[in-house]
């Protein structure tokens, strides 16, 4: 059986050129930002793929490409065997949109403050024409609220009457309203406190088990990723540098960037450990380094890394884009 979600060679370029007048008067060139550059992965039904990386590595752009908020510059998405981006364009594409839903990072910004919860959660149901009867809609919203651990009585309240964690549950209930099969979650817990984060992560896992949901889970927190995912993709400057099963990746990280990320996590139970933080910062994506974009920060970089861009190759059960790993130097 082929995977439910297949992204192949996804790429998105943004035009960040100065305005036309400045280009003409000041002779400034057009400028293109390669936010996502050739990302491919597959997610089996009922599984979770996590994407990790630092700010600006393109993980949120991938999320938006998958739900059709952005049109890819190159490549595409196959969902359940059909070309999703072609389907989004035609009127029947609504059926597909119903099956792919998104949960956003900020539970304060993603809920309309002037709507009550019933309208927020009921909107996708009305929009897709799934339920038109008013009483039935109320009953369904109540059910959805119960499934995320809130009370049906909460449906007459406004978002400001809830805490951050409760709001994120409302977002989850809204995303579940159309009974989607695939949920794209963009940093769903990073705005929450740890004890509340635990509540939300537990609900997401329970729902996945009950409904066989497939998740793309985006996060910068590796401990959270380790908890929720089956597969992990590590992104750096718009490209996947390592893609592996959770166990493989955490037990045996191969790419130097993955190692660096794992090394940078503060450890809880080994206090006072001296660590050697990796020097340098993520380069400007407008002017990415030649060859492997990680080479200026990489302790294993050589001449080949500076000139030739590594491809994502299958090495020992994982996919890794690194010359040093390929040549067996690390």
């Amino acid at each position: 059986m082929s995977a439910l979600v297949q992204a192949h060679d996804l790429a998105k370029t943004f035009d960040v050129s100065p305005p036309w007048l400045n280009r003409v008067l000041e002779g400034k060139p057009r400028q293109l930002l390669q936010a996502v550059d050739g990302v491919s992965f597959e997610i089996e039904k009922g599984k979770t793929l996590a994407l990790v990386g630092e700010s600006g590595c393109g993980k949120s752009t991938v999320a938006r490409l998958l739900v059709g908020l952005y049109e890819p510059t190159r490549g595409g998405l196959n969902f359940d065997g059909q070309d999703a981006h072609a389907a989004f364009k035609v009127p029947e594409g609504r059926k597909l949109r119903r099956r792919i839903q998104m949960i956003f990072q900020d539970p304060y910004a993603s809920l309309n403050p002037r709507w009550i919860v019933e309208d927020i959660i009921g909107e996708p149901l009305k929009e897709h024409g799934l339920i038109t009867d008013k009483a039935a809609l109320k009953a369904r919203v109540g059910e959805l609220l119960k499934s995320v651990g809130l009370s049906p009585l909460d449906m007459v309240k406004y978002p400001h009457q809830f805490s951050g964690g409760q709001r994120q549950r409302i977002s989850i209930a809204r995303a579940l309203a159309t009974e989607p099969e695939f949920l794209v979650c963009d940093e769903p817990t990073s705005a929450l406190d740890v004890s509340v984060q635990a509540q939300v992560l537990n609900i997401m896992k329970d729902l996945q088990r009950e409904r066989g949901l497939t998740y793309l889970f985006i996060s910068h927190n590796l401990a959270v990723v380790r908890h929720v995912s089956d597969q992990v993709g590590v992104m750096y400057l718009g490209r996947l540098v390592e893609l592996a099963d959770k166990q493989t990746l955490f037990a045996n990280p191969r790419h130097p960037y993955t190692r660096m990320l794992l090394d940078a996590i503060p450890e809880m139970h080994n206090t006072g450990r001296a660590r050697t933080p990796v020097q340098g910062e993520v380069p400007n994506p407008l002017n990415p380094p030649s060859g492997c974009s990680f080479h200026p920060r990489c302790p294993y970089a050589n001449e080949r890394c500076k000139s030739e861009r590594p491809q994502l190759l299958s090495i020992a059960g994982a996919k890794i884009a690194c010359h040093a790993v390929e040549e067996g130097r690390i």
Binding site: N202, H220, P266, R275
Partner: protein, 326 residues
């Protein structure tokens, strides 16, 4: 003698519908050169504690009672002008967002020189030399050139280094760092934490590190105070609090953090949420969410008491109620 002593601090916000007590009877001390972590969830009062120490409580918030002593001298009742002289000179501050802590219209050099000259009697050249030295200390490459750049020309991590340099400019004895790494990526966070730790040791400054990230606390601090609903729930040496927490809230908090070392199907969760300030439960504020709650918790408020190697505000550790708890 302690560098900083906070005694029974109460901070209140008078409002139309009554007064809200945001900090309720907080006491702790920081020794010279020590790093004290303050951890807790949003709204627990960690930032307010920091703000009252540096005298930057937003009105109508005010210190209603209690004392704050810096090197044995009261600083909570000082006037605006006197406090301004202490801030920067004797207490440095580092805030979460490095972009809003710097003036975008001035070069970082001008801001550093201004800070140094406000507090120390040095010439302009000497101040500039010191400023370059500070930038070098904080690991900014090509400090001689970078000193004449504006804040927007620095990346987030570099800006936070500038803010640390600025906090250290007048060689204060205490630095209050409020979520200094929250806005940064993990790889940069690791660099900044290491920097903060080494540079404070170098300059002999004590640090009060406010954060919600237990991992950062574990790596950096000597002691940690866990706050809940405007009070200190537990305080003690950092490895004791992390490995043998005594307060049920600390236990729950520690268990809810996803662990890199252990695979668990479900995370432990503390049900419910922290109470709002206008609805703090009677007795122990944590009692509605506490798995070990008993009668006394609902009627009587616990103060900090000895609990093994740490001090916890929990009746479980009181000799009198121990029989009832079991």
């Amino acid at each position: 003698m302690s560098l900083l002593q906070v005694k029974n601090l109460v901070v209140e916000f008078p409002g139309r519908r009554g007064t809200l007590r945001a900090l309720d009877d907080i006491s702790f001390e920081i020794a010279p050169g020590e790093i004290l972590g303050v951890v807790g969830e949003s709204g627990a009062g960690k930032s307010l504690t920091g703000a009252s120490i540096i005298g930057l409580l937003e009105p109508p918030g005010r210190v209603a009672s209690g004392q704050i002593l810096l090197e044995g001298e009261r600083i909570d009742n000082l006037g605006h002008e006197q406090m301004r002289r202490i801030r920067g000179r004797r207490i440095g501050a580092i805030f979460q967002d490095p972009l809003t802590s710097l003036n975008p219209l001035y070069t970082v050099g001008r801001q550093l020189v201004e800070t140094i000259q406000t507090h120390l009697p040095v010439s302009a050249e000497e101040a500039r030399r010191r400023a370059i030295g500070l930038l070098q200390d904080t690991g900014i490459p090509a400090a001689e050139q970078r000193i004449d750049h504006y804040p927007h020309q620095f990346s987030g991590g570099m800006r936070q280094r500038v803010v640390i340099a600025l906090a250290l400019a007048a060689e204060p004895k205490l630095i209050v760092a409020d979520e200094p790494t929250t806005a940064l990526d993990v790889s940069i966070q690791a660099q900044i934490i290491t920097l903060l730790k080494t540079i404070c040791k170098q300059h002999g400054a004590a640090v009060m590190l406010i954060t919600h990230d237990m991992g950062v606390i574990a790596e950096t601090c000597d002691r940690v105070a866990v706050m809940y609903a405007g009070r200190i729930a537990e305080i003690g040496p950092v490895h004791e609090v992390i490995n043998h927490p005594a307060h049920p809230y600390t236990v729950g908090l520690m268990a809810s953090i996803p662990d890199m070392a252990v695979d668990r199907e479900r995370l432990n969760q503390i049900d419910g949420a922290m109470p709002r300030l206008n609805a703090i439960p009677h007795g122990c504020a944590f009692n509605p969410r506490c798995p070990k709650v008993f009668d006394r918790c609902k009627s009587e408020r616990p103060e900090l008491m000895d609990a093994g190697a740490t001090r916890a505000a929990c009746w479980l550790h009181d000799a009198k109620s121990r029989g009832g708890a079991a």
